[in-house]
């Protein structure tokens, strides 16, 4: 079951690791939005949550993939937070964790001292004695302060659960669960995905999608897909502009138009000379 939710601007977000894997297993890439816990202050590699394109959400729904948006209003898939009980449970867990971590911390300290001892040169016999004495004292004197305890800030919990105040605010915005906004885009996305391509958003390339021949982790994009409906007239200047953009980034521009029969018509733009 893939869980995702809609925050204020109705963007579908995926929070749990298993859900991210499941989404990618369907050939849907999405876009990571969060900072990476290991190194938050950079944006070369981002972390959870994963944002889904409206087309990706649409596909999940269409395939009747076991995916369900977490609905804030009805609360049907939301566990009811019994506040006091939950807090008690949490504090108990924290206490247990603290005890275990204290033990681990002591062991860690001891092994550090031992490493220091065995690493010492032969001539420092007195230093060795001092260390041995410290080891013995450690059992009595060692303290592991509570403030040094490591606690987890769960990503999934942060994304999928809300305190009542936040919930009220988010309810006011409400998830739309709308259909993908532009039908041409959705048709093209579905067709290309069905042919095995991977797609991401291409706003900053002047197009609708970037089309990859394989997983974007390993392959460069080949095409910039621009979705136009067949009866829509296109300004020539726009065609020239997008052709320019494509050649600047060494990608082929694809004009994609869903046809009357199920199928999409593709036209590529190639910069040619006259021979």
């Amino acid at each position: 079951l893939i869980l995702y939710n809609h925050l204020c601007d109705s963007a579908p977000l995926v929070w749990r690791m298993q859900d991210l894997r499941a989404v990618r297993a369907q050939g849907l890439v999405g876009a990571l939005l969060g900072s990476l816990p290991r190194t938050p202050r950079q944006n070369g590699r981002l972390g959870r949550p994963l944002l889904l394109l409206p087309e990706e959400e649409g596909l999940l729904r269409e395939r009747r993939a076991p995916a369900r948006p977490v609905c804030l209003m009805c609360g049907c898939s939301q566990q009811d937070w019994g506040g006091a009980e939950l807090r008690q449970k949490y504090e108990e867990e924290e206490r247990r964790s603290f005890e275990e971590q204290s033990v681990l911390a002591l062991e860690d300290r001891k092994s550090a001292l031992l490493r220091a001892m065995t690493g010492a040169d032969s001539g420092a016999a007195s230093a060795d004695d001092a260390l041995r004495r410290r080891l013995q004292a450690l059992d009595q004197n060692f303290t592991f302060p509570q403030s040094a305890m490591a606690v987890q800030l769960s990503t999934a919990r942060a994304g999928l659960s809300y305190c009542p105040e936040a919930r009220a605010f988010l309810q006011a915005c409400g998830p739309t669960g709308a259909e993908p906004r532009c039908d041409a885009r959705y048709q093209v996305f579905r067709d290309l995905r069905g042919r095995g391509f991977y797609l991401t958003s291409a706003g900053k390339f002047g197009g609708d999608f970037l089309v990859y021949p394989g997983d974007p982790l390993r392959f460069h994009a080949h095409f910039i897909a621009v979705c136009v409906s067949l009866d829509e007239s296109v300004c020539l200047l726009d065609v020239l502009a997008v052709a320019r953009l494509g050649s600047n980034v060494k990608k082929t521009v694809l004009l994609c138009s869903p046809g009357p029969d199920p199928g999409v018509c593709y036209t590529s733009l190639q910069w040619s000379g006259m021979i």
Partner: protein, 370 residues
């Protein structure tokens, strides 16, 4: 690491829980991000590619599944100067056509037939008893018979040593004049022969043959007035102030005969005045569509930032989406005005990808050296 999903318990439905030992180990977690290798261009179903993909994916999941682990510390924790658009009414008074007043034709009052005014007695004024037009054509001179001696001539036949006195009837009163010795006069003039080249001699020949009366425009003039007009027209053209430009309601912006510096001239003839972004911005009404979302301050390595005293922002952000319209001039002016002297950066968001744009005021350079 944090992949186990405990769905058995209520509260654990959404959490990927780390065990205490995992939590402890996370304290010494590396902060390095593995460098991404070169991408392949085309999938070829090779084993090599498959392995690299698997490796990339594993690395990807491993990074993403790491949870946030923190130490449980004690929580510390305002113109309206209406621009006067003064319309310069170009009060160009109509320049009167300065036509030369024709001298009064004296013909009609005269007795006698048609004669042109220049045929009148030339010395009629000085002659007391001649009245106005008393003689009808009697003293009509044959100008071709008046000899004007060429004192500079060196040729023998034209050489004179002295000039004969004029007819006593032409002289006023009892004035008597004798022969005029030419010699002292000749000394006062330069008698050197001008050496001319063949082309110059040819030119001189044509010049001597030139007769103003042969000119077609001149012949079209029926009287002195028209001739004067012609001369004035020619003069205007020659001097760069032709009448058809300067004698009308609309005159050129600048008289080319007047000296002026290039920069001044460019300013004088410019029809479109230069403007800058903030011009008129104070008059714009605030609208809902574009507003500054937040300020950006530089990190403490570069500037001193304190919540109580943030200092001057580095830039101000306006966030929008690629689906939104591009800000029009009105929006840009409004944002610039609201921002003051801090640059406004427009952050356009595209599914997690952000592109930053800024609009800068730009003055076209004028090709003038100061």
């Amino acid at each position: 690491m944090a992949d186990q999903n405990n769905t058995d318990d209520k509260g654990k439905f959404y959490s990927e829980i780390l065990s205490p030992s995992e939590l402890f180990a996370a304290r010494s977690r590396s902060h390095k991000i593995p460098v991404r290798g070169q991408k392949d261009f085309f999938p070829d179903d090779s084993e090599e590619q498959k392995q690299r993909l698997e490796q990339s994916l594993n690395e990807h999941w491993s990074l993403l599944s790491e949870e946030r682990v923190e130490r449980l510390r004690a929580e510390a924790q305002g113109e309206c100067s209406t621009e006067k658009m003064e319309e310069d009414k170009c009060n160009e008074g109509e320049e009167d056509e300065k036509l030369a007043e024709p001298p009064e034709a004296q013909s009609s009052a005269d007795e006698g037939g048609s004669r042109s005014w220049w045929m009148m007695d030339v010395l009629g004024d000085s002659d007391k008893d001649s009245g106005h037009g008393s003689r009808s054509g009697s003293s009509c001179w044959d100008f071709s018979s008046i000899s004007f001696p060429d004192l500079g001539s060196t040729s023998r036949e034209h050489f004179r040593s002295h000039l004969a006195p004029p007819d006593p009837s032409l002289l006023p009163g009892d004035l008597k004049v004798g022969f005029c010795d030419v010699a002292p006069w000749r000394q006062k003039i330069n008698l050197r022969q001008v050496k001319m080249s063949a082309s110059e001699q040819k030119r001189e020949k044509y010049r001597r043959r030139w007769d103003v009366n042969k000119n077609r425009e001149v012949r079209r003039c029926r009287n002195w007035a028209e001739y004067q007009e012609l001369m004035a027209r020619r003069k205007g053209k020659r001097e760069g102030r032709p009448a058809h430009l300067w004698n009308r309601e609309v005159t050129p912006l600048h008289d080319p005969t007047q000296p002026i510096a290039t920069g001044e001239l460019l300013k004088k003839i410019s029809v479109i005045k230069p403007t800058h972004l903030l011009e008129g911005a104070s008059r714009l009404k605030d609208a809902d569509d574009w507003r500054i979302c937040f300020n950006v301050y530089q990190p403490n390595t570069v500037a001193d930032f304190k919540k109580s005293n943030p200092g001057k922002p580095y830039s101000r952000m306006c966030v929008c989406s690629f689906d939104d319209p591009v800000p029009d001039l009105r929006a840009i002016k409004l944002l610039a005005y609201q921002s003051g002297d801090i640059p406004v950066v427009i952050a356009v968001v595209d599914y997690g990808d952000i592109s930053f744009y800024t609009f800068k005021d730009f003055q076209l350079p004028t090709d003038v050296y100061p």
